[in-house]
């Protein structure tokens, strides 16, 4: 896409912006601003990845890095202050270690194949097989989805489980909004720093423009998420991106119209069942393929006459599982933070 016409200038420019942004964030004392700048940083790297023709990764970076994690940062800031405590220690040792690590990376870069070199090892060994044969073996045009959901589908199942683990942690440690035994004493050593930002949220809810725009926008965000979910076989997209976009739509609604409205629509129990259901759909597809005589996640066995068709079906189902788990995990984490700030 980029390459010849734009030359490396755009890449260079993006890199300079990213480095500048990273340095600025590191110096930043205001955590609120830092959270916002992190979003911009992610958007810049999404742009970078697009130039590298890695649109699927770029899409994920934009949805996760610039989208949902900014919202979760804000949720976390709702529990603490939005100003970093001054640190008197000068981390000279830290600087030394970081510099040494950086030099080591630079040393390794001396051996690195040039950007886009067609003779680099990664272009010559496994990748050509994916590019050449995946459409015939797996039956869908998006090679990234083929690799992610079929060739390396077990990694993706693992990643889905990582996301599920995050929800277990958020609910166990923050209480899922139900309150934790002795939660009031939670972190008494940090004093009354916890509920400082509620005025911001109040103001958000009173703004007419936000309410109107929000109301109009949320259905389209949810619809777009469904498109991303089910179009992943043909274009960039898939369960992870769709899940975070869907969750972002729900969370946006909660931010504008209040947490209770969302809780009435999707109670905690439903969220927890949803988290489990997505992972179990993924695993269930794998178990089904074992029962039908294949290896775990061998979708080809779903259609004996046309394995590629079976592959397509399997991918559709596991991506659906990913989408469900990711959506509900994001909502669970949001509930955990938001529920705590109201105590």
């Amino acid at each position: 896409m980029g390459g010849e016409f734009t030359g490396p200038f755009v890449e260079m420019l993006l890199f300079i912006f990213m480095i500048g942004m990273a340095l600025y964030i590191a110096r930043m004392r205001s955590l609120f601003t830092a959270a916002m700048l992190f979003g911009i940083f992610s958007l810049l790297s999404a742009g970078m990845l697009t130039l590298m023709d890695a649109v699927d990764v770029a899409f994920t970076e934009a949805a996760v890095g610039a989208g949902i994690s900014t919202v979760l940062f804000l949720g976390a800031l709702g529990l603490t202050t939005s100003e970093e405590a001054p640190d008197s220690k000068h981390g000279w040792t830290a600087l030394l270690i970081v510099t040494a690590t950086g030099l080591l990376l630079a040393y390794a870069a001396l051996d690195m194949p040039a950007y886009g070199d067609p003779n680099a090892p990664i272009q010559l060994h496994v990748a050509p097989h994916y590019l050449k044969d995946s459409e015939q073996e797996v039956g869908i045009p998006n090679v990234v989805t083929s690799v992610l959901a079929s060739y390396r589908g077990y990694d993706t199942f693992g990643e889905t489980t990582v996301v599920l683990t995050a929800a277990v942690g958020a609910i166990l440690l923050l209480g899922g909004g139900v309150g934790r035994v002795g939660a009031g004493k939670g972190r008494d050593d940090e004093g009354g720093r916890r509920m400082s930002d509620t005025p911001i949220k109040m103001r958000v809810r009173e703004t007419v423009i936000l309410r109107v725009v929000g109301k109009a926008l949320v259905p389209f965000i949810l619809l777009f998420a469904l498109y991303v979910q089910f179009h992943g076989d043909y274009g960039p997209g898939g369960g992870f991106q769709a899940g975070v976009i869907f969750a972002a739509g729900l969370i946006l609604h909660a931010l504008i119209f209040g947490l209770d409205a969302l809780r009435r629509a999707i109670p905690q129990v439903v969220v927890e069942i949803g988290i489990a259901a997505g992972a179990l759909i993924y695993g269930g597809v794998g178990v089904a393929s074992m029962v039908l005589g294949g290896e775990f996640l061998h979708y080809g066995v779903f259609d004996r006459h046309n394995p590629a068709h079976g592959q397509h079906l399997g991918i559709l189902l596991v991506e659906f599982g990913v989408g469900i788990t990711v959506t509900f995990v994001m909502v669970a984490i949001f509930y955990a933070f938001a529920g705590r700030s109201r105590q």
Binding site: L104, A108, D111, I122, H129, Y154, G176, G182, G283, E295
Partner: protein, 494 residues
């Protein structure tokens, strides 16, 4: 591919992996607890079966999705990782039966099932890291085990558990990121993620800059997870503030899996010639191991809290394991592996003793343990047994480890190292005796009647303490397996 037996490698990980979300649906603790116990027993049975299948020298391969190497992900079971699978799932089978214990007070009401879910996820991650034949798959399952262990540690009663979990999270994430950067360079140099394929290609490539830097990042990343001196700072806080049952599980499994990774990457991926002859990692690992043996033991002597004492002792014990590896000999690796098994038994038993003491006294400060020898005789007897094993008294597993290590040291003509191993054992005697003295020869401030913890706590404690004697006397089984594993690692590589 239809019979169940051929699916055993995947079932080893898949059963706890699917059980974790199922806990969300079962919810009631009366169902989830027996369910978790059944799952951990099934895992243990599978691992024993896998070990018996590979002991003859065969290697089991399971190709996910039916995709052959190097295009898909494969599981690959040999003696080395089957041995570690048995240790991890065996400890899980003993410890999970106890339930959350004191952590119950921190868990939101009615959410106990999430504790079991987290424990099963941790088991899943550790087993998944061990069994896989794909380097990126290692990273994915390492994330599952790490995240869940941060959660479990944060459930400690003391509020500092949150901070301990947080600093472990930061250190652990740095470790995992370093490992990922290393894997990235390895992928860049070879174009593959499959371990067998990658090993061949690295062999052909030789020590290019990319491979050397990959080695550096991988080794530092694993060393953080393994708590190799001086990268051990997260460990004392994590193990002493975590709920004692969690410490019992993690101390006997998590560092063992990290040690396995160290051996796997050294011999299986980079190759002993590159790691020891070209780079000479042994010249760094040997002094660090010896320092760890002494620093850990000396720090343990000065502790006033039982779990913290055990945690510092772990740093010293990890020193023994890495010392074995640093000899770069088959006998050395074998000694390290024997100690993996033996240390899991004794440290597991000792942390379970800590759980018993916490149940009775509400904490494990050495002050509250005064006179417990008379008040909890069975619990304290287990402490003495496991403590003697830690010192290396003949008739316990500790002696078997020390014997193997000293023999390995003498084999490379390092008499002085053999001497240092003995000297550090005397330090272990000092800190174990300190606890024994407090428990048996000091009078408590308040009179307490004699009462033991419930059997569901006492039985697991004694299973591990008993095993620490059993495998000390009938040592041949574990020693043979460790020697076969080391032999396979040296002969075949991967």
């Amino acid at each position: 591919m239809s019979d169940l037996a051929s699916h055993l490698p995947v079932l080893q990980v898949l059963i706890p992996l699917l059980a974790a979300p199922l806990c969300f649906l079962l919810r009631k603790e009366a169902i989830v607890l027996p369910f978790t116990i059944a799952v951990s027993f099934a895992c243990f049975a599978i691992s024993m079966n896998l070990l018996s299948q590979v002991l003859g020298g065969d290697i089991l391969v399971y190709e996910f999705g039916g995709w052959s190497r190097p295009y898909g992900i494969e599981y690959r079971v040999d003696i080395l990782n089957a041995f570690v699978l048995v240790v991890v799932s065996g400890i899980a089978a003993v410890v999970f039966a106890v339930g959350p214990g004191q952590a119950r007070r921190v868990i939101p009401e009615g959410r106990e099932y999430l504790f079991y879910s987290a424990a099963l996820l941790c088991l899943t991650g550790l087993l998944g890291v061990t069994i896989t034949g794909d380097v990126f798959n290692i990273f994915v399952f390492l994330e599952i085990s790490s995240l869940s262990s941060y959660i479990l540690i944060a459930l400690g009663l003391n509020r500092r558990a949150l901070m301990a979990a947080f600093s472990y999270l930061i250190m652990g994430t740095i470790g995992a990121t370093f490992l990922l950067i290393g894997i990235g360079f390895m992928y860049q140099a070879t174009g593959t993620l499959n371990m067998v394929d990658m090993a061949h290609r690295i062999q052909v490539l030789g020590p290019t800059k990319g491979v050397l830097v990959a080695l550096a990042f991988v080794m530092v990343g694993i060393s953080i997870k393994l708590a190799v001196f001086p990268l051990h700072h997260w460990l004392p806080n994590a193990y002493s503030y975590a709920p004692p049952l969690v410490s019992a599980f993690l101390a006997s499994t998590a560092t063992k899996v990290a040690y396995y990774l160290l051996i796997r990457f050294t011999f299986g991926l980079f190759g002993a010639a590159l790691v020891f002859e070209t780079v000479g990692i042994d010249r760094l690992l040997l002094p660090l191991s010896i320092i760890a043996m002494f620093v850990g033991s000396i720090a343990a002597i000065y502790q006033t809290e039982f779990k913290r004492l055990l945690a510092y002792s772990s740093i010293a014990q990890i020193g023994y394991m890495t010392l074995g590896l640093s000899f770069a000999t088959q006998a050395g690796v074998s000694a390290g592996l024997i100690h993996v098994f033996n240390h899991a038994l004794m440290k597991g038993a000792l942390f379970l003793v800590a759980a018993c003491v916490t149940w009775r006294m509400g904490g494990t400060n050495l002050d509250v343990m005064k006179g417990l020898g008379q008040r909890m005789p069975f619990t304290m007897a287990a402490m003495v047994v496991a403590g003697l094993a830690l010192v290396g008294v003949p008739g316990t597993v500790g002696f078997v480890s020390k014997w193997a290590l000293v023999s390995a040291a003498l084999e490379v003509d390092a008499l002085w190292i053999a001497f240092l191993i003995m000297a550090s054992s005397i330090l272990a005697l000092v800190y174990v005796w300190k606890v024994v003295e407090i428990a048996y020869f000091q009078t408590p401030e308040v009179e307490l009647e004699r009462r033991e913890p419930p059997l569901r706590l006492l039985i697991p404690t004694w299973i591990l303490a008993g095993a620490a004697i059993y495998f000390g006397i009938f040592s041949s089984y574990a020693v043979d397996v460790a020697e076969l594993a080391a032999q396979q690692v040296f002969m075949v590589g991967l």
